[in-house]
Subunit: 407 residues, 2 copies
């Protein structure tokens, strides 16, 4: 170094304050030292056993040995993604290829959509509970974040309409419409339509973050957004964000945004200044896999069966252990169960945290998902990557930890 004390270049405001972890497991520190092997119910990843690694290997092999794709699969690609994958996603989702931008997963889609609409000082509305990483994106862009309660069937649109009539204005509303990654709630078709009609009337965008919509447990997929909003050329308030992360694995970093063709062009231009373009090898491999739609349908079916079974194991175990003292809705899809703890038990209570740590079982604190008024009476349990026996054992430990506190 040169002589003298260096004058330091400053960080930006964003880099100046590092965020803590957005998901707060209950006393992981204490749990790590416990005697029993850990049961971790905080994850949101696909099951290790269900993913088809052999097919993945076949796909990368085909792409890297085919003279038509080998060089392309390790080259620069367009910022909106490779054409064939955009076509495949467009056909699957029932829109035009110009409405599809391929992203590096759903988080990247939220980031790009937020970049396209938020300036410092803009107001953004989020349903609560909400996904803390999305909240961070909005806040780092300088947005002021307001909240709207998520109810059965969707966000409180009566409340929203009252606000809007009273003069409140928002740049965007952020929602996780299907099998929400906290509550498991599904926004029904009527709510989806009404939300977009309000968006049209009052001029806000709708960011619909939808990573779980393909993983339904019933007979039918959830109702979609009205088709009239999904194939716009010039303008639509709707930005639908999807991903292969929950079905093919997050390590591919391949997702998409479906929006108006005009918005897709803008997101692609923004992307040039973020990382230029996405992973060519990942996009070519996934495109190769999707050339066999039967294979993909069969995989989705197998995943739905697996996760439905695990959800049932978890709910049965919760009934058996807690009777009616833990309240929850049976998950209809996705990876998570959202449970209200017995009256008098709260996740911000150090007695509760200590009891769970002694049992070495991790759940996600519900109070981390409310930006304004934390509700400490909920926990989230992820069942996707945990086998049936360990799910039962996990609930057994929850009972051993919490039931004595009720006496």
């Amino acid at each position: 170094m040169s002589g003298g004390v260096p004058v330091r270049a400053g960080y930006s405001q964003i880099a100046g304050h590092l965020g803590g972890p957005a998901f707060l497991p209950l006393r992981r520190d204490a749990a790590d030292g416990a005697a029993k092997p850990l049961i971790d119910l905080t994850g949101g990843v696909p099951d290790e056993g269900v993913l088809p690694y052999r097919s993945y290997d076949d796909a990368t092999h085909a792409v890297l040995t085919d003279a038509g794709t080998a060089f392309k699969s390790v080259s620069y690609i367009p910022p909106a993604g490779i054409g064939r994958l955009r076509e495949q996603v467009a056909r699957w989702r029932g829109v035009s290829v110009d409405n599809v931008l391929i992203t590096d997963g759903a988080m990247n889609g939220i980031f790009l959509a937020a970049q396209a609409m938020i300036d410092p000082g803009d107001r953004v509305l989020v349903e609560t509970p909400t996904f803390p990483f999305a909240l961070r994106i909005f806040r780092r862009l300088g947005a002021q974040v307001d909240t709207l309660a998520l109810r059965r069937g969707g966000a409180d649109l009566d409340g929203l309409e009252r606000q809007l009539r009273g003069g409140a204005r928002y740049k965007a509303f952020y929602t996780i419409p299907d099998f929400q990654n906290l509550t498991g709630e599904v926004t029904d078709g009527a709510h989806k339509r009404r939300l977009l009609e309000l968006a049209d009337r009052y001029g806000f965008a709708v960011i619909a973050d939808d990573p779980y919509c393909d993983l339904w447990f019933g007979d039918d997929e959830p109702a979609g957004f009205p088709q009239g909003y999904r194939q716009a050329d010039d303008y639509s308030p709707l930005y639908e964000i999807g991903t292969f992360s929950k079905t093919l694995g997050p390590g591919w970093r391949v997702g998409w945004v479906i929006a108006s063709a005009d918005a897709v062009r803008r997101l692609a231009a923004i992307r040039l200044c973020v990382d230029g373009n996405g992973s060519a090898i990942g996009q070519y491999a996934i495109s190769r896999l999707l050339e066999d739609p039967v294979w993909f349908d069969d995989l989705l079916d197998a995943e739905r069966r697996l996760y439905r079974g695990r959800a049932r194991t978890l709910t049965t175990a919760l009934h058996d252990t807690f009777g009616g003292s833990v309240l929850f809705d049976e998950p209809q899809g996705g990876f998570f169960l959202w449970a209200r703890l017995p009256r008098g038990i709260a996740v911000d209570d150090v007695r509760v945290q200590d009891a769970l740590a002694r049992q070495n079982v991790l759940v996600t604190r519900g109070d981390s998902f409310y930006p304004d008024r934390p509700d400490a009476s909920y926990v989230r349990m992820g069942f996707s990557a945990i086998g049936d026996d360990r799910l039962r054992e996990g609930v057994h430990r929850l009972g051993d930890a919490l039931l004595p506190l009720l006496r």
Copy 2:
């Protein structure tokens, strides 16, 4: 849609004005219709024939079939990158693992570094000519961009020091120190040291964008930045940005930032709000490839030989065709040759553009790389991905297009 004319949600300021293409080929539109097959000297990609697809296939196969990595390679990974690849890059580059953040290529490294330091209104200095995509990143973050002339051996640091003594202050200086992707210029060791001493004395950061430093044509690699600045824990002004894009292919989207451990932590936190993390499959595959350092050294040697030969073919052809009327420095590394056109020939002259279009040869206009005072007397020629015969043919066509204009 709902009744009535929809009120449109606005775009952000960033998305409101789309940038045009940053690289301006000479009349691509006219050229596309010409009779001769196109010779495109605008690219900056590795040669198709030199990349080892079989090794890539072996690596993805190994990763996807090894029980220890299959699931991990399609899962979420830490935002700073997988530990093993960070270790490998750290050892290769002679720093500690805590100083390494894995990125999605160099562009993503510039973006993350810029996010970490630039707030709206900050002043950023760039050498000219400079890389337009980096310029876009700084401007989109609201920076005010000033320029410093690039000279033989590095930027004009005498001029910079006079400015700084006179009270000018910058948040960051952006430079491409080795085989600059426009001029091919190398910043020598003395310039590198002095730049960092100025950074320490006047409190600015140095963003050193270095994608070509491994592709030298002489006996030795270019001088590095002083080691004392490269392994800081708490603070260093230096952010070194590297990538495997030019050596293993940009489609992997794997690069790195080397910075202080504190800065690496901040960049990782920022990354959580951009795309969460990078491509696991890409990082695991490249890490597997790097386990054989002899293989990687041999590949780099083969690439250096190939590109050195092409640079010589191009310079010989230019001498043969133009004699001394086209001025350039023999490239010492990298992918590009920067040439001053014969006196009286300028790329913003429509006669010149028409003549090149008729020959169906594309070069990159030099005036697109000056943010303030465009200099239309230069063109850039990329030789990395064009075979010797076509390089000669390309120069022949340049002669046919330009020499008649001299008479």
